[in-house]
């Protein structure tokens, strides 16, 4: 799992490669070059999407190790929007981190971030870079503290809530991770991947809880709910069905309790068969075309199916 706060979706390496190869053609495009004041009045209106694309290409270049093109992209964006723009500062920080050779360099960059944040506490991208950097140099405790402080002032930042949830989960604090993921879901209530993630967190909590069967069952029921919601929102969501199968398996293997709010065993059985059927369907359909992380997901799904002997 990447330790940096992502500015865009998880792309698999092939997509990033494709994107970074577009760099040279994009950089030679005239519309993104610097124009004098007079020319900019008569020439066509610039497209905001072109700049967004350039940013994506910049990130892809960094991912694929093409630092030279990344530098050119960054220069182009900086001349257009100015070096004092918060988002540009964030991107520049990202570039510097990628360039850094030693631990010492990284610490110097961190010092720079601290300085910027102290001078301008409203610089959100630099806040995030700082947290990500602290986390990636192996101080999760400090990163936690940093994020908690950040969220006390900016509680409507979904990205930060997700990152905090991930951090807590890494520290083994499942309760807190669940709380943070719920906050993120409040801000983005239809994000099926967050629903599935919350399901996973509940599942993990049920596996590590020592409070007895009743608590376990509560977590597992919640996990089943969440996975079901996520596949309701996104019909072919592999992760959702994978979790649904796991959670229903575990829940039906628990000794029957007397609690009334649990799910009926008949429903569980049917959910399980649905999930298995769907998993088989997805694996069969896309195993020939998939690549990268998607491939790994499919292999895992196949392994789960083999393991349960169906």
């Amino acid at each position: 799992m990447s330790t940096q706060i992502q500015y865009y979706n998880h792309d698999d390496p092939a997509t990033a490669m494709n994107l970074s190869q577009k760099a040279s053609s994009l950089l030679s495009k005239s519309s993104l070059k610097r124009k004098s004041q007079v020319v900019s009045i008569v020439s066509a209106i610039e497209e905001p999407s072109e700049w967004a694309e350039l940013e994506q290409v910049f990130l892809a270049c960094l991912r694929t190790g093409d630092d030279e093109s990344a530098h050119l992209c960054l220069e182009r964006i900086t001349t257009r929007f100015g070096a004092a723009n918060h988002r540009i500062m964030g991107l520049r920080g990202l570039y510097q981190e990628a360039e850094a050779k030693t631990e010492e360099d990284l610490r110097r960059i961190l010092q720079g971030y601290n300085q910027i944040v102290k001078e301008d506490p409203m610089n959100i991208p630099i806040h995030k870079r700082r947290t990500a950097l602290i986390r990636s140099i192996g101080m999760p405790g400090d990163a936690l503290e940093c994020l908690v402080q950040f969220l006390a002032s900016f509680p409507s930042d979904t990205e930060a809530w997700c990152e905090l949830s991930d951090l807590y989960q890494q520290q083994g604090l499942n309760q807190q991770a669940i709380f943070c993921m719920e906050e993120a879901l409040l801000l983005a209530p239809n994000a099926w991947n967050l629903h599935a993630r919350l399901g996973e967190l509940n599942y993990l909590a049920s596996q590590s809880a020592q409070e007895g069967i009743a608590t376990n069952e509560k977590y597992l029921t919640e996990a089943v709910h969440r996975f079901a919601r996520s596949v309701e929102l996104c019909q072919d969501y592999l992760r959702g069905y994978y979790g649904l199968k796991l959670a229903t398996d575990k829940l039906s293997s628990l000794p029957q309790s007397k609690s009334t709010n649990g799910l009926a065993s008949e429903t569980l059985r049917r959910l399980n068969t649905t999930a298995v059927a769907k998993l088989k369907h997805i694996v069969k359909q896309s195993s020939s075309t998939a690549s990268g992380p998607r491939k790994a997901e499919l292999i895992a799904a196949q392994a789960l199916l083999d393991q349960s002997g169906s």
Binding site: M122, P155, S156, E182, H225, R226, E232, T274
Partner: protein
């Protein structure tokens, strides 16, 4: 009184069409376009919060609204909803989220004239008003000075006598058929009727027409709601208390209820 059933015939100089009807129409369209661009130039984007406490004050207010709005679809369990609700209501009531801290409650709201941020908001509104008023006054007087008193157009359909005021402003003849339109009235018709032309030229969210401008004035929340919930001169403490009340009466329900049945029945 005009005789019923007979048509009035007025010999119009064809130059009237070329030199009055056309110029007024073109000028009206051009002013609309100009007003659109002037408004864009004069607009100041809503100012982002400048300090973390200010950001906190704004974002916690939206947090309450988010909790109310997204509660069903986010599928919080009753327990975790209760925790959040209690936390927010408690802090709203104590004023912990206020920019200046809980001690600043109950102080009178600062005079909007002394607060630079509020002042800016008012200036923005003034500018918008100005962009609307000035061209209108100028063109109205221009038309009055040059083109008053011409009958320039005959509508191809009959109308009742009530329309006389609307269509024959500036022409004081009692006997004239209602179908004749005076130059000043043509100006008014252009003023109110060019909205679809502007949509065609400038796109849907244009600031050219004055009707839409007036509607925006009548409903300031719609126009400025994007800039954040804080309006100049409003007491954030009162807004927090109102939000706390809203949360208190919120009824719990959850989209996760019966999600399995929905899923199974959709297969």
């Amino acid at each position: 009184m005009a005789l019923q059933g007979t048509e009035q015939v007025i010999q119009r100089d064809p130059a009237l069409f070329l030199w009055i009807l056309l110029p007024i129409t073109i000028v009206m369209i051009l002013t609309g376009v100009l007003r659109h661009y002037a408004t864009i130039l004069l607009q100041t984007p809503p100012k982002p919060p400048s300090t973390p406490p200010e950001a906190r004050e704004r974002q916690f207010l939206t947090r309450g609204a988010v909790l109310r709005g997204n509660l069903p679809s986010s599928g919080l369990s009753p327990a975790s909803f209760q925790v959040r609700k209690d936390y927010l209501i408690d802090n709203y009531k104590k004023g912990n989220f206020l920019k200046m801290g809980p001690e600043s409650r109950g102080q009178a709201a600062p005079n909007p004239m002394s607060d630079p941020a509020a002042m800016e908001g008012m200036m923005g509104m003034m500018k918008g008003n100005m962009a609307m008023m000035i061209p209108q006054t100028l063109i109205m007087s221009w038309i009055n000075a040059f083109f008053a008193g011409f009958v320039i157009l005959k509508l191809p359909f009959p109308l009742t006598i009530r329309f006389k005021q609307m269509l024959q402003a500036g022409v004081m003849t009692r006997d004239l058929d209602v179908r004749w339109v005076s130059s000043l009235s043509w100006y008014f018709l252009c003023l109110f009727g060019l909205q679809s032309v502007f949509i065609f030229i400038l796109g849907n969210d244009n600031a050219a027409s004055q009707v839409t401008q007036q509607m925006a004035m009548a409903n300031p929340m719609g126009a400025q709601g994007m800039g954040g919930p804080m309006q100049p001169g409003q007491d954030p403490d009162k807004m927090f208390l109102a939000e706390a009340e809203n949360l208190e009466v919120l009824e719990y329900w959850n989209v996760l209820e019966g999600v399995e049945e929905r899923l199974l029945s959709s297969e």
